[in-house]
């Protein structure tokens, strides 16, 4: 082995080791490694009608996702090939022209995915999961492109500005810059949601008890009004430091879910905060940002690098392809954290029956498939499946019993 090759191998090995160490650290979980989830039969928990409805709903959703993804890839491939021509529609300098090309790429993807979006909306409306009108959805999406464009322009300004100064090494400072932006975004997101405080005394009392148990006292529990748009129930933990809070959709606290089940939801979200999952999210983002930015820098080299506007269409394609390739891994990471939040909720509420009842209620209300197909599980599921969650509740019951009996 020549010395140069050895040096290159060492250069690759050092970041690889650092990456692996960081990934190992971020992967740490409170879920016992020895925990074995029991195999459960979904037919024992759900009626045949519910299972059929969920399977039927999910099937079209899967095809719709496939259609949207293919449309996106085709649009971006064509755009990477011919999109550079749109540079003539710009009177701005290289940065401004790059921004225009980036925005047009997003716009064309929006057009290409429009049939899939409309199909999805039709399907959700047909199943009473969405109340959004077609015009509102399409026009709102068209306007929402503006918000995406602002972030895209900021991203391209950073990338192209650095690339014009540093050449191919732009990715080295760009990746930390993106991580900084991700942190900033995680910090400000709670204030962008438009929420109001939770006003149910029973839930506030439960939340207060759970916060003490999970050592995340004084976490605001707020409600986001979404009932005009959807009937789907949901909740999320958001924010970091002083901005952290638990957001419950008003469709979750509209009376369909009893307090006992809502306690599991709140405990789950507080579990995210207690285990610093937002920080970990940013950490994982950082781990993907460095190799991702490097890959983009390499891929666009033949178009003159990211300092040239003509490289922007190709870079969009590369980012989307990398995102698709990383999707199974990202979903696995997400499922891992969600499972830990479930575990935290079980530990705090000590109510596996309540958790099981909640997860069982999800199937008729959200039409989620309890046991989706493998490819759907790998590519689309960022939460454990319903059956896995019920299995974890069962496993926790056994685990709690065994640890209580052990000397």
């Amino acid at each position: 082995m020549s010395r140069a090759l050895a040096r290159r191998a060492a250069l690759l090995a050092v970041p690889a080791v650092l990456w692996s160490a960081a990934a190992w650290y971020l992967w740490q979980s409170r879920v016992p490694g020895s925990l074995q989830l029991p195999h459960l039969d979904s037919r024992a928990y759900f009626s045949g009608r519910d299972l059929h409805a969920a399977a039927s709903f999910g099937r079209l959703q899967e095809w719709d996702w496939l259609l949207a993804t293919v449309a996106q890839l085709v649009a971006l491939t064509l755009y990477a090939w011919r999109g550079g021509r749109f540079a003539r529609e710009s009177a701005a300098g290289p940065l401004g022209t790059g921004m225009l090309l980036g925005m047009l790429g997003f716009a064309l993807v929006w057009v290409a995915q429009l049939p899939a979006s409309v199909l999805e909306l039709w399907w959700q409306r047909r199943h009473q999961l969405s109340q959004t009108g077609y015009f509102t959805a399409v026009f709102g999406d068209w306007l929402a492109l503006g918000g995406q464009f602002v972030f895209l322009c900021l991203t391209l300004a950073i990338v192209m500005g650095l690339a014009r100064r540093l050449g191919e090494r732009w990715w080295l400072p760009a990746a930390p810059a993106f991580v900084g932006l991700a942190l900033l975004f995680a910090f400000v997101t709670p204030w962008l949601l438009g929420t109001h405080p939770l006003r149910r005394p029973d839930l506030l009392a439960v939340a207060s008890r759970l916060e003490r148990a999970e050592h995340v006292q004084h976490t605001p529990i707020v409600v986001q009004d979404v009932h005009d748009v959807t009937s789907l129930p949901n909740a999320e933990a958001t924010g970091i430091g002083p901005s952290r809070r638990v957001v419950l959709w008003d469709t979750l606290v509209d009376g369909r879910f009893p307090t006992r089940e809502l306690a599991v939801v709140i405990a789950h979200e507080l579990g995210h905060l207690a285990r610093n999952h937002i920080w970990k999210d940013v950490g994982w983002y950082a781990l993907f940002a460095f190799p991702g930015a490097y890959a983009v820098a390499r891929a666009t080299r033949r178009r003159g690098g990211m300092g040239e506007p003509e490289a922007v269409p190709l870079s969009l394609l590369v980012v989307v392809v990398l995102g698709l390739l990383a999707l199974p891994l990202q979903n696995a990471i997400s499922r891992h954290m969600e499972a830990e939040a479930d575990w935290m909720a079980l530990r705090t509420t000590r109510d596996p029956a309540g958790a099981t009842a909640l997860f069982r209620r999800f199937v008729p209300t959200t039409l989620d498939e309890p046991s989706p197909s493998t490819w759907e599980y790998l590519l689309l599921e960022n939460h454990p499946t319903i059956m896995q969650r019920i299995a974890m509740a069962q496993a926790w019951r056994r685990y709690a019993t065994s640890t209580a009996q052990s000397p």
Partner: protein, 425 residues
């Protein structure tokens, strides 16, 4: 140039022979003096409504409006123009009651009856709607248009631009005995456009109304060139359909940037005001910064409102955009005018606000046309350029880039004549 004019020439031609002088007494009572005309227009409009239906049916059948009905409609179009010109202070003498041709200083030349497309005749009402919306913003609309809109009343079809110019001109005329040329021209432009719309509705012509100020005010003398004026490529009518379709979202990053820049510009403007009040001349660095800001604002709005095609840069660089702005170098400014700049700018703000609406409507109409044809209509592009130019002049005046008051005339100012070789020597 003559060929270009010929191409754009509209069969309904506005003729302005007004000398800007106004009688203070008639100006003071102008709205009241118009009362007999309002009554007469109302009665005439009822007749026109009935005759218009007959004329429409006859034109549909024969392809040409009957000569007698055509004459009746022409007289009505001319008469409403005279009345509105009088009420809106675009002209001085009291008009006659029969719409005589060539008797009034603000008149309209109308075509002889000719063949008209049966399709456009059949669909005349839906076709006229876009032009009608613009006419409501710009000039006056006659009685039958109000009737067609389901409101059986006449007279009150005042366009906002013409009305605002009349309101401001009323004060100016009372004080000076003369109508400011900019306001007169703007009012005449609005009324001229409305006359074209009325002529189109009443089947006097089948040529669609054109909002091109240069063509409408072809008989009006151009004002002297304002120190803040447009430069660039006026023939740049090509529009990319993709960027047209996504124009609003594409402009949002620019709008965000503009808001941030505006915060700084306002602060810089305050410092500039103090410095100019003290020194009599704006500091060069602030002048440069604010010039860039005003030019950038024009570029962004030109892009947003489809008055220009390419995506603009973010720094307001001169000479890079097809619709660009020439701004003066820093020079001495009258301290009184500087001290009261904001108060003095208020009338210009009114005009600018109305032109902002016109710009918006022109942009919406251009959006549809450009999506289909891939180019902007000449008239709408020039209307947009007028509104943008005036907005830039207001901005430049406010930020003390010049102490020349914004000129409301839709006509681009004429450059000063080149000195003769002998004089130069």
């Amino acid at each position: 140039m003559c060929d270009e004019l010929a191409v754009h020439e509209h069969p309904v031609q506005l003729v302005v022979e007004d000398d800007l002088r106004r009688n203070r007494l008639t100006v003071f009572f102008r709205a009241l003096l118009g009362i007999p005309h309002y009554i007469w227009i109302f009665l005439w409009s009822i007749g026109v409504f009935v005759v218009a239906i007959v004329n429409w049916l006859a034109t549909l059948v024969t392809g040409t409006p009957p000569a007698s009905l055509h004459r009746f409609m022409c007289a009505y179009v001319r008469y409403t123009l005279h009345v509105y010109a009088y009420v809106y202070l675009v002209a001085n003498p009291y008009p006659g009651f029969v719409g005589e041709e060539g008797e009034y200083p603000v008149d309209v030349r109308l075509p002889a009856p000719g063949r008209q497309s049966r399709w456009t005749t059949l669909l005349r009402l839906p076709l006229v709607l876009p032009a009608l919306i613009l006419a409501i913003t710009l000039g006056g609309t006659g009685g039958p248009v109000a009737v067609l809109r389901g409101r059986r009343r006449s007279g009150g079809g005042g366009g906002v631009l013409a009305a605002v110019c009349a309101f401001l001109g009323w004060f100016a005329s009372l004080v000076r005995g003369r109508m400011p040329k900019g306001l007169r021209d703007a009012g005449a432009y609005g009324l001229g456009y409305s006359a074209q719309v009325l002529a189109y509705v009443l089947l006097v012509t089948d040529r669609y109304p054109s909002s091109d100020p240069t063509a409408l005010l072809a008989t009006v003398e151009r004002p002297p060139q304002h120190p803040v004026h447009l430069v660039g490529d006026p023939e740049d009518l090509r529009r990319s359909r993709v960027t047209v379709f996504f124009r609003l979202p594409l402009a949002i990053p620019h709008l965000v940037w503009l808001v941030l820049w505006t915060v700084l510009a306002v602060l810089a403007g305050i410092v500039n005001w103090c410095a100019t009040l003290f020194a009599g001349t704006p500091p060069a660095a602030l002048h440069r910064f604010l010039s860039r800001y005003v030019r950038y604002t024009l570029h962004v709005y030109a892009f947003l409102y489809l008055a220009a095609n390419p995506f603009p840069g973010f720094v307001g660089e001169p000479g890079r955009y097809p619709l660009d702005l020439r701004l003066p170098e820093p020079s001495r400014q009258n301290r009184w005018v500087t001290g009261f700049r904001i108060v003095l700018a208020i009338p210009a703000w009114f005009v600018n606000a109305v032109l902002g609406w016109a710009l918006l409507i022109a942009a919406v109409l251009t959006w549809f046309v450009a999506l289909v044809t891939g180019s902007a209509p000449w008239g709408l592009r020039n209307l947009s350029a007028y509104a943008l130019r005036y907005g830039a002049q207001v901005n430049a005046y406010l930020y003390l880039l010049t102490d020349a008051y914004p000129h409301a005339s839709p006509l681009e100012g004429a450059p000063p004549p080149e000195p003769l070789p002998a004089e130069a020597a």
